[in-house]
Symmetry: C2
Subunit: 133 residues, 2 copies
């Protein structure tokens, strides 16, 4: 596989990482993601890493990088589905993913992005007169 | 990788297939999927195959199988993101996926499931008084 699929879900993009990332795949993902953020005017990026048993420093940096680039394009990145052991490893590696928002699963990540959009007055699929934020 | 992650999105489950399926992985996916349908009371299953450049008869049978099992558990299966070349190959192989609903992308698949739930009077996240179906 040379490309990781990026799925559009409302105002967000969803990426499910299932394989170990190597240099080329990571670069391709970053490129594809930035292009797609602009193409579909995405406001958020959800990265599901529930399939990963190990997250090394390379992967940690990649997540940080994606979050930084997305932020410049005005899209928030949420990493979802992290296993407890991965969280422990990341902290042990000194990678606290400070620039990345995390959520327990895709639904919570989606809800976070939705709330953020509503607070910003952008509104997603069902944005109503919700101005008490 | 020995497991394909299954993500919960509202009333549906989302599976993104990114790697070639072999026997064991397919069996594991079917088992995991059926267990998760029951566990979270899912009403739909979305299978994204946009990453696949080739779908052989094994994969075609697996999709048919998943759809059949899900249907017995009262969950509709929608295969999304199929490439044009894959559609051609499937028909040439004599696999018309007659038991499987397809949609162009995840959003359309999701919308289809939502409409179906509303028509059945189950209602999803934002089911209103939408009874004109």
């Amino acid at each position: 596989m040379d490309r990781i699929p990026i799925l559009k879900l409302g105002d967000a993009l969803l990426v499910t990482i299932q394989v170990d990332m190597h240099d080329q795949l990571a670069t391709a993902l970053e490129e594809d993601l930035t292009e797609k953020i602009v193409a579909v005017e995405a406001r958020g990026v959800l990265i599901d890493i529930s399939a990963l048993e190990i997250v090394d420093s390379f992967m940690g940096r990649m997540l940080d990088n994606i979050a930084a680039v997305s932020r410049i394009l005005d899209a928030e990145t949420v990493v979802v589905g992290m296993r407890p052991s991965v969280a422990i490893t990341l902290v042990e590696l000194g990678l606290s993913l400070s620039g990345v928002k995390t959520a327990l699963n895709v639904e919570r990540g989606m809800a976070f992005l939705q709330r953020r959009l509503e607070a910003a007055g952008v509104g997603g699929e069902d944005a109503g007169a919700d101005d008490d934020g």
